[in-house]
């Protein structure tokens, strides 16, 4: 058992120079596990955690080709909200939201979940219709949401430009008060620490290079650290999902695209909430450190390069200045990209596959960070029972064959 984080332990450590347990113990792979999770991002680590905690399966390995949290989990703009349009999606994201609300305590690790509220701005009449529709749906689904007009927005965010004389004037917004942001790396680390505390092996620098399938059943994986056997393999490798699928002879309804973000230099607090806008393509919050964290749109071409093109970030900077002209002389400090796996209906796939024992959790595209605990939770149950968790049922991969798509383009529209 690991030492608990508390004021007491902190004090003791400070006084006695006593050491902490390893939060992320390094492991070498064993030859066989009950379950292998491919991908040490937030979703993969959360899956392992809930497998161990709620499904009683502790003989689990999380196999990560680089360092944990180094994929999209470590490069996203951390917006967490559950105000999705369709019932299926909003149930899943709301499930996640509830888990977020107790996550730090559950993990004994402060993931700095900060419920500072999220505004989704509307700039056209159709935006406002869509906002009304979505907010009404949210409320009926028990998700907190309100429509606010431009005056209320201005009251809450005095630095925002609500002038009518701009290209895309702000007409109103939806606001979710329980929404917010969290410390992305902390989420990966918190899940990793808690999972390994329950016996999960977290194996870094270990790339899966092939999947062993025999007579339609998964047998295990080949990795850069040797072969590992398991009857059940869960793939949670985000941008690389198609690559893993190919190893098992499968194709997926996803494409990988670059998605970019950038941060400014740190400033004193000026923006206390999260603002997103589909129409002008940008979203922004200010981190606890003081930097503005800004997300841009995706590039239209396929890529695995973890970088995007200049036009996208420059347009995004312009979009942010349309909303917040006072940031003109603030400087961009760093810009980076992730690889997002985009599904045609902007909803994820949480599903068994044609290969027995092989499960996929992918297609979260530009907005899966917010789902991290919920996704891991339902995926763990899906793997453990070899039967989809109730909330995961609509996200079966077969929906692309039956046509039962869950179109979330409206709510997911811009990357976040």
């Amino acid at each position: 058992m690991q030492k608990k984080y508390s004021w007491y332990s902190l004090l003791k450590a400070g006084l006695a120079n006593q050491d902490w347990d390893k939060a992320i113990p390094s492991s070498k792979p064993k030859s066989k596990y009950d379950v292998i999770i491919i991908g040490g991002g937030g979703h993969g680590l959360a899956t392992a955690y809930y497998l161990a905690k709620e499904c009683g399966i502790t003989n689990v390995a999380v196999v990560e080709k680089g360092y944990i949290g180094g994929g999209n989990t470590g490069r996203n703009t951390t917006i967490i909200r559950s105000n999705y349009l369709r019932d299926e999606a909003s149930s899943l994201y709301e499930h996640s939201m509830r888990l977020w609300e107790g996550l730090s305590e559950d993990l004994n690790f402060n993931v700095m979940f900060s419920q500072r509220g999220v505004y989704n701005l509307g700039h056209t009449l159709q935006d406002m219709r869509d906002i009304e529709r979505r907010v009404n749906a949210n409320v009926l689904n028990g998700v907190d949401a309100v429509v606010v007009d431009h005056k209320e927005i201005k009251e809450q965010i005095p630095i925002i430009n609500t002038s009518k004389n701009v290209r895309y004037p702000i007409m109103g917004a939806s606001f979710q008060a329980r929404a917010g942001v969290a410390r992305h790396d902390g989420v990966a680390w918190g899940f990793a620490r808690a999972a390994s505390n329950l016996g999960v092996d977290i194996i870094q620098n270990c790339e899966v290079i092939d999947i062993e399938v025999e007579e339609g059943r998964v047998k295990g994986v080949k990795t850069t650290q040797g072969d590992i056997l398991a009857d059940r393999v869960g793939c949670v490798s985000a941008g690389h999902s198609s690559v893993i699928a190919r190893m098992a002879g499968l194709r997926l309804p996803v494409e990988s695209h670059p998605l970019q973000a950038f941060v400014s230099e740190a400033m004193k607090p000026i923006l206390h909430t999260v603002v997103m806008s589909n129409a002008v393509h940008g979203y922004v919050s200010q981190s606890d450190k003081g930097d503005l964290v800004i997300g841009a749109g995706i590039d239209g071409y396929n890529s695995y390069a973890q970088r995007g093109s200049a036009k996208i970030v420059e347009h995004c900077a312009a979009a942010i200045l349309e909303l917040f002209p006072i940031f003109s002389r603030v400087r961009m400090n760093r810009q980076w990209g992730g690889i997002v796996d985009v599904c045609p209906d902007a909803c994820p796939v949480i599903s068994p596959t044609k290969v027995q024992g092989l499960y996929f959790n992918c297609g979260w595209g530009t907005g899966g960070f917010k789902a991290t605990p919920g996704s891991g939770n339902v995926f763990a149950h899906t793997i453990a029972q070899d039967k989809q968790h109730d909330l995961a049922v609509p996200f079966h991969i077969d929906r692309f064959t039956t046509g039962a798509l869950i179109d979330e383009h409206g709510a997911a529209g811009v990357a976040h």
Partner: protein
């Protein structure tokens, strides 16, 4: 303080400048940076650090500076987080520290608690969500540097696209030499030479003090370059104060040039850009970005007046200033001797402490000794003494137990410590080639044992490295290297120039020939050995991070915040890597670097956006009639990029009143509308019909010339994506109209099919959206007006039927008149060449007065079409509606031989489900209540079963009407449903409605022929 004037300095003593820093007035000179001017004025403290609030001084002289962050100016020119070292002084400058070193600082006050706040502190504390939600905002107010700006920027920023064969980045000795070589060896190649400093020369000015030939070479080279730049048909652009900050794919590089820092850019009514962003596409890159010096590690190495050796040298040589009197230079390479020698030549005394073993009597050591400089060899500094500024050092003898190639140094401190006094300490731990840009776009680094630094990947396509970035220290070698690389560059460009590589001398004054990193555990395990000064990351933080299992360098970075600051770890990161290597017991090559990303140095958001703001953010597209709408006081609705009249309020009308008036006019007499924004595609070729029947769901093979037809377009998923009327001009010629917002995507989708799948079809498409203006004349009296306007068309309803078109002449202008209707009334759309659009509009308005013709906008159009149950794609559909869902089975052709786009999907199970959302009409029981659009319909369990897509008050019916998507709605006619209003101040409200047909008005279509 200033030292004696000397000729190498760039200071212009004839131009004194006044400025204010932290509310005190100072004087400086043209050529100073804010930093050099403040050093001249003996200013010591510039800022407080991020976490512990420690007072900090300047350590660097350029962009690598982590400490001296200031806020520049006020109001509309206020700029946060500028480095004092990057601000060129101008008269009247005013700046304050980003975090005031002189005020009381909470972070510094809790000093006894600092030991309880190691890296990762916050992950272990405030774990209860409720507590965190309270604490977080308090903590936030402690972080951040400058305050954010509060006013709108007074300045503007331009973007300029540039193209060149060769881009030389860095204008030091190497870059100047490379640029010159390219220009003189090639007759065609264009060159752009950029440097972030105000002057060319880079570090070469430092050599002037000791080397006359350097001065001569510089002057001559600069002159030759300027001649190339200024000649007619010049092939050379020189951009100074211009930083290459990002290297994107395919040799696309962005360079930010500063025209003015904080001074007003508005002079004599002309506003020049504050910064210009050059967007450079180049065939070849020559990287000559030099190297950054890195500091040595010892206890409390963050005190004020502990600087970098090369920076002290630059301050003396370039700016004529020095920050102390009792100076100690400390390091592991020859750079410290150079600084000492230069100081001596300018009559400033110093001592040198060299960790390298005694007995190595190289030229430079001898030269220093000969000048009377005291040299300690084989000594190291263990600790800097002093409260906030350095007042002395503790030194001790050290020995290296193992030498390269063994990667681990095993330094040992031997002997007793002694104390030396000093008021300025300058250190050099070797140099990091500035490889940042090279890595932005895929370049890798490797660890070089000799220089103990990460060097750029040796070979990359279309890129050469030269000079200090190529770990070449001696300036003459840098020049020779640059020439060689320039020749290789020309070779790569395909020029058949001769390549005569010059030998490098490998002179001993090579800063890149350094000993092992000096990282003895005796020092690393002490508190307050700072790696990242801006974020207060110490060696112990790195050690803790590793012990807790955060061992990858990327985890260390994220756990400790090392390299996260505005300097992005330019000086500190390498020490962090060395320290991690020591604690991990792994070679530095294995530890590796973190990822280099843009921006090399910060880029103003304003500069990134350029002029694409306000009206230029997105094109505003206007019809040719726009001015008239403006004159009529129209409110506009933005549809796609178009500005369409929304409604035309008169005499203080609100929208509701205006729309009622407009609708009534259309229904009772005559209205007019500008329909020019609809997309129009000219389709010609013998297979034009075939194309239409492949992309529309209905039949097109029999549509006669002179007729029009409505079509619905789906994607392969079977979902409606667009609709519109297409006109048959003749058997080989059609004109398709699309929705305003869908025009571009429909056009490119059609092209896509034609080019990638159906290239055998003989069809040509041309966009004619801009060719025609369209004036719709709508209402029972439309025919009367048309007859008045156009005499060469027979408007009799038996001869010119609904859904037909006729060529004619309207007010002397050739027109195509279509009789189609989106309102259910008699209507004609007059299509004329756009240059006559305004004229025809005005004529229609004038001649229509007789029937009180009323211009109406999109809002009335929406009401009118909703009364008739016509859908708006994108409002009543949302990308997930099939034609069946909107009750338009009639538009699905049964017997087309070709399986039109989308058809196959109609037969998959979910699309056939009875329970889908389907488009119906809703009539509120209380006919005066207008449903809010977006409100949901609920079932008896309170669960949503649909929502309102369109809702209006219908003046024609004297009641409200609405369209809605309702689960299984088409089989629920006449049933009562509840619409729930969730956001009501006085509690939730439910509105009962009756499900109805979506056609509310003139259900039998009797109005379409209007009045005779």
């Amino acid at each position: 303080m200033r030292i004696e004037k000397h000729s190498n300095s760039l200071i212009d003593y004839n131009q004194p400048l006044s400025f204010v820093f932290n509310n005190k007035a100072y004087k400086g000179f043209k050529g100073d940076t804010l930093a050099s001017a403040l050093i001249a004025n003996n200013v010591l403290y510039y800022a407080r650090s991020f976490k512990y609030g420690r007072k900090r001084g300047i350590i660097g002289a350029g962009v690598e500076e982590p400490n001296a962050l200031v806020s520049l100016e006020i109001g509309g020119r206020y700029t946060p987080n500028m480095k004092a070292t990057e601000i060129m002084l101008y008269d009247g400058l005013s700046a304050v520290s980003s975090s005031n070193p002189h005020s009381i600082d909470f972070r510094a006050m809790i000093k006894p608690l600092h030991r309880f706040m190691p890296a990762g502190f916050y992950y272990k504390t405030f774990i209860k969500q409720k507590v965190w939600s309270i604490v977080e905002d308090r903590l936030r107010s402690l972080s951040g540097f400058s305050k954010a700006p509060s006013e709108i920027d007074e300045d503007v920023y331009d973007h300029i696209f540039q193209h060149t064969e060769v881009l030389v980045i860095g204008g030091g000795a190497a870059g100047m030499s490379a640029a010159l070589e390219v220009l003189s060896s090639s007759k065609k190649a264009r060159v752009i030479l950029v440097d972030e400093r105000e002057n060319l020369g880079g570090e070469l000015t430092n050599e002037f003090t000791t080397d006359q030939t350097a001065t001569l070479w510089y002057q001559e080279t600069k002159e030759r370059l300027l001649k190339y730049r200024d000649e007619a048909g010049s092939r050379l652009k020189i951009l100074t104060s211009a930083t290459a900050y990002a290297w994107y794919d395919h040799n696309y590089i962005e360079v930010l040039q500063t025209i003015g820092t904080g001074q007003s850019m508005i002079q004599e009514g002309v506003q020049s850009a504050r910064k210009v962003l050059h967007k450079i596409r180049t065939k070849e890159v020559i990287l000559a970005t030099g190297a950054h010096e890195r500091p040595m590690l010892f206890e409390t190495n963050d005190l004020a007046n502990i600087m970098l050796s090369q920076s002290v040298r630059r301050y003396v040589n370039e700016f004529n200033v020095v920050a102390g009197k009792e100076i100690v230079l400390y390091g592991n390479n020859d750079s410290i001797y150079n600084t000492a020698i230069d100081l001596r030549k300018h009559n400033v005394e110093s001592k040198v402490i060299d960790v390298r073993a005694s007995g190595v009597e190289s030229d430079i050591v001898l030269e220093a000794r000969n000048l009377g400089i005291e040299v300690f060899q084989g000594f190291a500094i263990l600790k800097a003494k002093g409260k906030s500024r350095v007042t002395g050092i503790e030194i001790s003898k050290v020995e290296m137990q193992a030498k390269p190639p063994h990667w681990k140094s095993k330094w040992r401190v031997t002997g007793d410590t002694q104390t030396l006094n000093c008021d300025l300490l300058a250190t050099s731990g070797g140099f990091n080639p500035v490889v940042h840009l090279d890595c932005h776009c895929g370049g890798k680094t490797y660890f070089d044992e000799n220089s103990q630094s990460f060097l750029a990947q040796k070979d990359r396509k279309n890129r050469q490295l030269c000079g200090a970035v190529n770990s070449i220290g001696f300036w003459k070698d840098a020049i020779a290297d640059a020439k060689n690389k320039a020749q290789l560059t020309l070779l790569s460009l395909g020029e058949d120039n001769e390549v005569n590589p010059q030998e490098l001398t490998n002179q001993s004054r090579n800063y890149f020939n350094v000993d092992q990193f000096f990282t003895p555990l005796e020092i690393l395990n002490k508190p307050k050995v700072f790696i990242d000064l801006q974020n207060d990351v110490t060696t112990l933080d790195v050690s803790l991070s590793i012990r807790e299992g955060y061992q990858s360098i990327e985890h260390i970075k994220r756990y400790t915040a090392m390299g996260f600051g505005t300097d992005q770890g330019k000086t500190g990161n390498i020490n962090g890597i060395a320290v991690a290597a020591e604690f991990l017991d792994a070679p530095m090559s294995e530890v590796g670097t973190t990822t280099f990303r843009p921006a090399y140095t910060g880029v103003d958001f304003g500069a990134m956006a350029g002029r694409e703001l306000g009206d230029f953010f997105d094109p505003q597209r206007f019809t040719t009639i726009h001015d008239s709408h403006v004159n009529s006081g129209a409110e506009f609705e933005v549809v796609g990029q178009w500005y369409r009249p929304w409604y035309y309020p008169k005499d203080g009308e609100d929208m509701h009143q205006a729309v009622n008036r407009e609708c009534r006019a259309v229904r009772t007499s005559l209205g007019m509308m500008d329909a020019s924004t609809l997309g129009k595609i000219d389709i010609q070729g013998k297979d034009a019909r075939e194309l239409l029947s492949r992309v529309y769901t209905n039949a097109w093979m029999k549509l006669a010339p002179g007729s029009c037809r409505y079509g619905l377009m789906c994607n392969e998923k079977g979902m409606i994506i667009d609709d519109g009327v297409s006109t048959c001009i003749n058997d080989n010629h059609f004109i398709m109209t699309t929705t305003t917002g869908g025009a571009a995507s429909v056009y490119s989708t059609l092209e896509m099919w034609l080019q990638t799948e159906w290239s055998h079809l003989d069809v040509h498409l041309s966009s004619v959206t801009d060719q025609f203006s369209t004036v719709a004349v709508v209402g029972p009296n439309a025919r009367k007006l048309m007859k008045k306007l156009c005499s060469d068309v027979d408007f009799d309803s038996k001869n010119f039927k609904f859904m037909q078109w006729r060529p004619g002449t309207v007010c002397g202008v050739k027109a195509r008149i279509m009789r189609i209707s989106f309102s259910g009334e008699l209507a004609y759309e007059i299509n004329i060449e756009a240059n006559f659009g305004r004229f025809i509009w005005d004529e229609v308005a004038r001649e229509g007065k007789e029937w009180n013709i009323t211009p109406y906008g999109t809002e009335s159009m929406h009401v009118l079409r909703a009364e008739k149950g016509f859908i708006i794609v994108g409002q009543d559909t949302d990308g997930s509606m099939t034609p069946m869902d909107v009750n338009m089975n009639w538009i699905l052709a049964k017997n087309k031989p070709f399986s039109y786009i989308g058809r196959r999907s109609f037969s998959i199970s979910a699309l056939k489900s009875e329970d889908r959302l389907q488009l119906v009409g809703l009539l509120t029981k209380d006919d005066q209540v207008v449903l809010p659009e977006g409100a949901h319909i609920i079932n008896n369990k309170g669960v949503s079963v649909g929502y309102v897509t369109s809702s209006y008050y219908s003046p024609a019916l004297g009641r409200s009407i609405a369209l809605a998507q309702l689960k299984g709605g088409l089989s629920k006619m006449s049933e009562t449903v509840l619409v729930k209003i969730v956001q009501e101040k006085q509690g939730l409200k439910e509105i009962p409605c009756e499900v109805s047909s979506s056609v509310f008005y003139d259900t039998n279509g009797e109005k379409v022929d209007g009045n005779e």
